[in-house]
Amino acid sequence: MRDKISSSPVLSVVSKILFAPIIIFGLYVQFHGDYGPGGGFQAGVIVAAAFILYSMIFGLSKGETLVPIMINRYLMCVGVLLYAGVGIVSILLDGMYLDYNVLSSDPSTGQHIGIILVELGVGMTVATVMIALYHSFASFGEINE
């Protein structure tokens, strides 16, 4: 299962072509969430889909070299900490927890900064958790040899 690399050239070529556009679409959904449908959750899933496609087609080992397991796990924590950290920063700036108004001199700009940072944290956590889920499922039941 681990190193079963797809023999079909169509799959590998198409997934190589699609990899970058999927990630760019994910980033678009992430940062355009203020203006249209989208946001951290959806963007995280879309970015994760690109990496999952890669490890599905080229094998888990190659996927692991692309996103090492430990870095993935650290990023999982960084996402949640980024979200919670925005709250802590707003406490330090004499506001309430997750009160973005104080993040900038202009409350509206502060809200912008806060929302973008928070959505980034959500996106990071969701993407890395999805990749971690896929890796756990795909590598489950492997014989340790």
Binding site: P37, M56, R73, Y83, I115, S139
Partner: protein
């Protein structure tokens, strides 16, 4: 009228899909049909103008969870076909639950009714003030990240914890794989 026709079409497709989910015995086709089911659900959400929900449903419901279900189905032992068990208890359960749901639906406010309780509490306030204050056109983002920031923090932590749980359950040995390998090799050498 168009709205109704599209909704009718989508819901009848949903019913057909449900029927086939019920009827198929092959696990992989059930997974595929469930993906189709959630995709139809997201089409219904688009028809109801709930684009954000539809987006999430399409990405999470029919995208990632289908992949995960396929992975899980691939891990199951082959050759075991899902035999139809005694259907009588499940039919009774299904019928009674749908009766309860139908009774509840009769008491729900009409679709898009501006006087429905949910539209009278804080929603008018949000809709009115959020655009002038945030300068962000998507009210859903404002509510999700700012008004309901605590909820979203909770959701993120839930996802994080779920990921941790799956990692702890399924990949307990992945990190130690290499060290175990070395240990075993040493043992073999001895």
């Amino acid at each position: 009228m168009n709205f109704l026709l599209i909704n009718f079409f989508l819901i009848s497709l949903l019913l057909v899909t449900t029927f086939f989910i019920f009827k198929t015995t092959s696990l992989i086709s059930v997974v595929a049909l469930t993906g189709a089911f959630t995709l139809l659900c997201s089409a219904i959400y688009v028809n109801l103008d709930a684009v954000d929900v539809a987006f999430t449903e399409a990405a999470v419901g029919s995208g990632i969870s289908t992949i995960l279900m396929v992975m899980a189905a691939a891990k199951l032992p082959e050759g075991k076909k899902n035999k139809l068990i005694n259907l009588f208890p499940s039919i009774i359960l299904a019928v009674s639950i749908s009766l309860i749901l139908i009774i509840i639906i009769a008491n729900l406010p009409l679709l898009g009714d501006p006087n429905a309780p949910i539209h009278l509490h804080v929603v008018p306030e949000y809709l009115k003030e959020s655009k002038d204050f945030f300068h962000i056109p998507n009210v859903v983002t404002n509510i999700l990240a700012s008004y309901r920031g605590f909820d979203t923090l909770g959701e993120t932590i839930v996802i994080f914890t779920a990921g941790l749980g799956v990692i702890a359950l399924l990949t307990s040995n992945t990190l130690n794989r290499k060290t175990n390998f070395k240990k075993n090799n040493k043992k073999n050498e001895r």
